[in-house]
Structures are given as structure tokens and as C-alpha cells.
């Protein structure tokens, strides 16, 4: 091809190079310039069109970038084969049907989900992310090892040793993207041959997760100290799933005596396990922190689960478990197909966030924020002189209350809703019927004024 004849319009806002680039691109796309054809030299085309050579250079480079043209040294610019060029136009206007769903009438939601958005270190997170990507390390493009990036596992192990008393190392840890994904790993290792004992009430997802995976489970009623030994023995469970740091949802903290009983139960047989879900242990408001179960003696067969959903945000989707040695050996041997679901960039960012001290500082900051919210919530409730009995407020990001009136739990939830307040009855967490008549109030992502106004509405509804 000798010359392209095309009128550039310099009265347009669109830069000249872009007009030229677009023109040539469409000519190629529509087959008017063929594969292999040589484009005019930059100098010639610039002369011909009456533009600077720079304009042509920029247009050609854009075409090279997008694969329409290639430059061959000392020979010139040639049109590429475009058989399978993918042309994505601007997306059509979208209608987000999902967004219209429910919740509109709720003004105050005492959910236990979510975190204090004001505390999230967006600036630092953004800066570290950019730094990680800017290094252009090719390893960022690869999956990490199946257990997760070694350095991140190392940093998590160190955090667990220091703050939770869990004696573990990078080699003992598997990273994943949430509690259910950790359970998939365990299901594949135990392959339906174990009976799981779960807390009643407890984390509401477990019964369905277990039954959908054909895993047998039995519900064990918790008392004011968590899962009782007698219940465990009666259930014949092989593996129990517990939340000793802050029982979900009742809020109780398991005392050391009960812990020792359960560990002894586990150690009676060498195919018994305890799964400790330490889901919000970062937040304890009175006394010294109680070390994790996994920090006690003879806890080798405890499987420790943790995550960053409460301490950073649920949107980050990073969880982990500390595996007993023999179970980890089996993981490596039997599940070689597993790929860690967490993106390599996200793992690298979190590693630096921990190693450079930001995670520790962030925890201190949010702990203070949550302590204040909790104090405000407890204080506001106590203004109604004995009408609310507060249970489980020593840790975590939710409390439970018994309301001193004659309403059933269902009536409490319903009458709150009429005041545009959402609260959660403990029965929704019961896998086996229990008459607890208690309400869960989460406060992590509520502002101070929402806490106060929400409780005022509840007092209207209930008192």
C-alpha cells in the first residue's frame, strides 16, 4: 500500500492520532486492508496527510499494541492476520435486577456481618497493591503453591503464635477463600466416614453445607460454657466443630476446665478431631485474651480455622486453617489437584500488610472502635433498667439479649421489623429446635447514632 487517503478533522476534540488509529483499525477489521499488507512509512504518511510524524507514530503504536499491525525492523509496518480478532464494544446499558431485592424498608440492621468501614485502611491497601503490581514480578501471574504463598503462611503463623498462642509454622497452614472452602478440603480428606458434631445453636451455614455434601452431622446443644462433654459423648461424634473464643451465636467464652475436658475426649481415640473456628477472636474486651484451643497442650489434632473477614473485611475472601501434621501429609498426598483459590496479588499484598506492621496497628485501631461501639450499645440498652438482659458481650462483634416482656422470639423480630429495625432471633441458628428466646445484635458496621436510634426504635417495639 502506498498511501492512505483520509481526511483528518482538526476541529474535533478527538486527537488526530486517535482519528488516524481508528480509521486504519476499521479498515483492517472490515477487510479493506488485507493481511500482510505493508502500511505507508511514517514519514510518507505524515507528509501526505499534512500531520506531524509523531501523530502517525502514536497511531501506529496503538495499532501494534492492539495486535492489528506489527513492526518488522528495517522493513516497515505490516497488517496482522485478524481472523479471530475480538471486538468488544462499549457494554450495553445494564439493568441490575439483583439490586432491587428486599431490605428497602429496613433502616437499622443489627447484623453480625460486615465491619466498620470507616476503619479500613484504603490508602495503605491501595499503595501496597500498586507497589506489588508495579514490581512486575512474573510470579504474580502464576498460581501460588496449593497451600498458599509460603511467605503469607509464614506471616500468619507468626501472628498466630504471638497473638493466639498457636504454635504453628508455615508448613502447617492451608489458605483458602472462606470457611466452606476449608470444609471442602476436610470433606475430601475424611470422605464421608466421620460423624461431625456441631453446636446448637451455631453457625447457620454448617447444617446445609454438611447435608449438601453427604456428610453426616449431629447437633449438640451448647450450654452457657459452650459445647458440653456429655453432649459430645452422647452424640457419638468423631469430630466436633466449636467456637470456643466466642460461641456463635450465644457469645459465651469457653472456660479452661471445659476446654481440657474436650481435649481429653479428643485424645481418647486417635481418629477424633476438634475443629476450632476462631472467627472473631481478635476482639476481646475484658481480661487477658484466652489463648486458642490449638495453643493448649495435647492439641495436636485440633484443626484451627481463622480468617480475615472480621479483622479486615469479608470482601477480602482469605481464610486459613492450621492442620495436624498427619492430616497435612495426607492433604499433600491425596489432594494434589487443589489450587489455592486466592489470587496471587492479594496474597502478596496481605503479606506486606502484615509484615510492615499495618495489620497489628489496624487491629489495635478497630479493637478500640469496636470497644466503644459495644460500650455504647450496652449503655444504651441499660438505660431501660433491667428490661434487657445482655449475654455474651465480652468478646466479638455481637451481643445477645433476652427481653423482659411477654413476646416470643418471633414476635420480637416481627415487631422490630415494623419499626424498620432488623434483629436476629437465635432460633435461626438452631439446627435442632431449642426455645432460647434471645435476640442477636451485631454492631460492627453501625454508626454510633444508628446504634442509639436503633435501640430507641426497639424500645418502642418491645417495651
Amino acid at each position: 500500500m502506498e498511501l492512505l487517503t483520509f481526511v483528518l478533522d482538526d476541529t474535533k476534540a478527538e486527537p488526530l492520532y486517535h482519528q488516524l488509529y481508528k480509521y486504519i483499525k476499521i479498515e483492517i477489521q472490515e477487510g479493506r486492508i488485507d493481511y500482510g499488507e505493508k502500511l505507508p512509512s511514517k514519514r510518507k504518511l505524515a507528509d501526505h496527510l499534512g500531520v506531524s510524524q509523531n501523530t502517525v507514530t502514536t497511531a501506529y503504536e496503538q495499532l501494534i499494541d492492539e495486535g492489528y499491525v506489527s513492526a518488522i525492523e528495517r522493513r516497515g509496518y505490516f497488517v496482522e492476520k485478524i481472523d479471530n480478532l475480538i471486538i468488544l464494544d462499549a457494554p450495553e446499558k445494564r439493568i441490575n435486577r439483583d439490586k432491587d431485592r428486599g431490605l428497602s424498608s429496613i433502616e437499622y440492621d443489627f447484623t453480625y456481618e460486615g465491619v466498620d468501614a470507616k476503619s479500613f485502611p484504603f490508602y495503605t491497601w491501595g499503595r501496597i497493591t500498586r507497589e506489588v503490581i508495579d514490581e512486575r514480578d512474573n510470579d504474580l501471574l502464576k498460581e501460588t503453591e496449593s497451600q498458599g504463598d509460603y511467605h503469607l503462611r509464614h506471616s500468619i503463623a507468626q501472628y498466630l503464635r504471638q497473638s493466639r498462642g498457636v504454635d504453628c509454622h508455615a508448613e502447617d497452614i492451608i489458605l483458602s477463600a472462606g470457611t466452606e472452602y476449608l470444609f471442602y478440603i476436610l470433606f475430601q480428606l475424611f470422605r464421608g466416614r466421620k460423624l461431625f458434631g456441631i453446636e446448637n445453636p451455631g453457625y447457620e451455614k454448617l447444617p446445609l453445607l454438611f447435608s449438601r455434601n453427604n456428610v453426616n452431622y449431629v447437633s449438640i446443644d451448647v450450654d452457657e460454657n459452650g459445647m458440653p462433654l456429655k453432649g459430645v459423648r452422647d452424640s457419638k461424634a468423631d469430630i466436633i466443630c466449636i467456637t470456643p473464643a466466642h460461641q456463635f451465636p450465644t457469645g459465651s467464652i469457653m472456660p479452661i476446665s471445659r476446654r481440657v475436658q474436650l481435649l481429653n475426649w479428643m485424645n481418647e481415640k486417635n481418629d477424633r478431631y476438634i475443629i476450632e473456628d476462631d472467627y472473631d477472636s481478635e476482639f476481646k474486651y475484658s481480661g487477658r485474651p484466652i489463648p486458642a484451643f490449638k495453643g493448649l497442650k495435647n492439641s495436636d489434632r485440633v484443626i484451627y480455622m481463622g480468617n480475615f473477614s472480621k479483622s479486615l473485611s469479608p470482601g477480602i475472601r482469605i481464610s486459613y486453617m492450621v492442620m495436624p501434621k498427619e492430616l497435612m501429609a495426607r492433604y499433600i498426598e491425596e489432594l494434589p489437584f487443589m489450587i489455592c483459590p486466592v489470587s496471587t496479588i492479594a496474597q502478596r499484598v496481605l503479606t506486606r500488610f502484615i509484615d510492615e506492621g499495618y495489620f497489628g496497628r489496624h487491629l489495635n485501631r478497630v479493637r478500640t472502635a469496636y470497644r466503644k461501639k459495644r460500650e455504647l450499645l450496652v449503655m444504651t440498652l441499660s438505660q431501660y433498667g433491667g428490661k434487657f438482659k445482655i449475654i455474651g458481650a465480652d468478646a466479638g462483634l455481637h451481643i445477645t439479649v433476652k427481653v423482659n416482656n411477654h413476646m416470643t422470639e418471633e414476635e420480637l423480630v416481627e415487631s422490630a421489623k415494623e419499626q424498620s429495625v432488623r434483629v436476629y432471633g437465635l432460633s435461626r441458628y438452631c439446627s435442632k429446635n431449642r426455645d432460647l428466646n434471645r435476640i442477636l445484635l451485631g454492631y460492627a458496621n453501625m454508626s454510633d447514632s444508628e446504634i442509639v436510634k436503633g435501640i430507641q426504635r426497639l424500645s418502642k417495639a418491645w417495651l
Copy 2:
């Protein structure tokens, strides 16, 4: 507390505010300043220490940031409760045991994993990521919907409609973090009641993934057109898993006649399904692209799986499937506990990357890069005049070769290794014995010179 007596050292490189901040922090940590104690006013302390008030302000603000101190308006600065303060020191020196594993003697690895690192748009990816985080949208902290972010699903649906002829919408798509995570969803929906038919040879992870999840499967031998109808009928499978765009690993492209046969088989019974894994369909080098199975008529019950591992990078960990309507209804009904494993930030970044046209451009660029590598590989092999028979080079990121000598497949692999070259015998992808005597050569993450030198070594080993 009236005053803090402390000598600041202005000959140190450490800024004065930082010395002051550190001093007070340690005093608090070690209990020498008590909870609730009031710190000296900024003016007083600045006078006392002979520093500017700014220095004190900066130190106090750092302490507030980290939760050691709180400011109460008009009253002053007070020490916070630090019961559970987490103090993370600089991490101990780490020894990465995992890094020392194997591979050291291999100089040229013709793996089919990985992508061309030079083509990855690090700059754009970093810029968009920073933009997304800088918006400080609180929704970034939350999980997305269980199916994944609506907007990303919308963008993927549009891409699939335009480039793969798959008529689907955001509502039909589930996002996850890799093929095995998509299968966990299907396992939970089918709950062990189906017999899966898989390709032999095929994706090597499937047999183990299926057996570890107690899912029945049967291997079906593929021929030069992919999975044959007779094999499907004989197997009694309810669901077949196929890679029609570029059979893995043999490289064949399933012709339309075979596709129609398999669709008819599926439609004979309404509980039969076809799982189409379109793992590297972005790359086809001759003729027009063949639309996906899911793009054909009567393909309602085809489950379409795709991912960004080949088109962007395996490190990104984002995959998706297009679900039949009734299966999606069951997903929503039966698996309400599922949380999308992909981080919200990553989903947001990918959405913009697609919507702003970068993904289309990137695909064009890498397609050109891979076409050239493939041409170089084929050309280099053909220099050995008929010694290599190349099969399956029309698409994807790997080819297979039959070597015209008297070596067994095992001998081919072993003798290559002696020349420090890693190649992959097709038998490693066979779930049931087959004597294919063929070698897989991937080229996506090899440079031009590695391709040429690697093949030279192979010719030494084999010819």
C-alpha cells in the same frame, strides 16, 4: 499526668515526633502510663521538651491511629485500655523450604501451564486497581453476591455472546476461583446421583477430584474428533465433560457433526448434561472461530465453563460457568450458604478491565504473540523433515507430536530429561490405559530462543 520527661535526640536520623511517639507507646505497653491517664497538653509538652507543637501533634496522632490514645474534645488526650493489644514485631528471618523443591536440572520446560509474562498489562492492571481502591466504596469491604458481582457477570456474558456465540446473561453465570471450585458446586447440586463421563486422555485432575468427592465417573476414549457418541452410549454416563474447542490434551477440534450427535444424545433425556470446558478457546489460529457448544441450538442443558487463566493469568484465580436455567434455580434454592470466593476488589478491577476495552485489546495482542510462538515451534520442528508429526496445532497454547523413532513415550520423556528438557507424555493424562505414544509441548511461557534451543536439545535426545 503533668509532664513526660524524656530526652529527644535531634542528632539521630529518626524524626523527633517518631522518637516521642515510640517513647510514649512503650511507656503505655509496659504499663508505666496507666489506662485512663491524661497525657500532657500539646502546648505544655512542646514547651517542656523544647520542640515544636507540630512534633507533639504528629506523635499524638500516630498514637491515636494505633489505638493507644484517644482524643476527647475540649478535655484532652487519654490513654486507652490495652489489654489485648497485639504487638507484631518484624518477622523472623524465614527459610523457604518449599522453594528448594525439584526442577533445578530442567532448563527448558514445555509445560502447558502459564502465560506469556511479557504481554501482561501490569501498568493498566495496577492503575485500575488503584483507582478502584481509591474510591473507598464501602461495598469493596463486603462479599459480592454468591454468584459473583452482577456487573462482572454482565461483562462476561457480553463477552461470551460476542466472541463465543453463547447466548447468556448475568443471571445465568456463577463466578468462582477455578475449575475444581465450579465442580464443587455441581457436586453439591447433583449429590452423587449422576455418572460422569470424562475424556480419556483428558484434564488430569478430574479423576482424582471425582473420586475424592465420592462422585462416580467413567473414562471414555476420545478419537481424532473428540469424544465419540458410541463411547458415550456404551458408558451409560448421565453427564459428559468435554473440551470441544481444543481437546485437552490431544488438541483436536470437535467438528460440527459430532457436536450435533452429542447434543442429540443429551436431549434424549432431560436429566442428561454436557459440561463444556472452553479452557483456551480464545486462541484459534486458522479459519473462523467455531462458536461454543453452548452457542448451538438446543444446548440449554450444556454447562459452559470458562476462566481467565489462559487469557489473563492463572494467578488471577477467576473462573465462571454458565448454568442451565433450572440448575441455576436449584443453586439459589439449595446452596444459599455459598459465598463467591473471589475478592470484591479483584472482581471490580476485572469488570473495568473488560468494560474499558483493555481485555479485548489484550486478547488481540496475546493472540498475535502466541500465533508467532506457535509458528516458530512448528517451523523449528519441521526442519527435522518428517521426524515429528504435529497434531492439534490449530488452537490453544500447546501442540502434540508423534516422534518418528523407536522410543516409547516413557523413553522420550526420560531422554529429554537427560538433556534438561521437560516434556509431557500423553499417558499422564490417561485415566484408563491407552497407548498413544505422543508428547505434549506447551509454549505459552517460553521465549523464542527457548523454543528453538529446547527443540534442538530434543532433536539431540530423540533423533
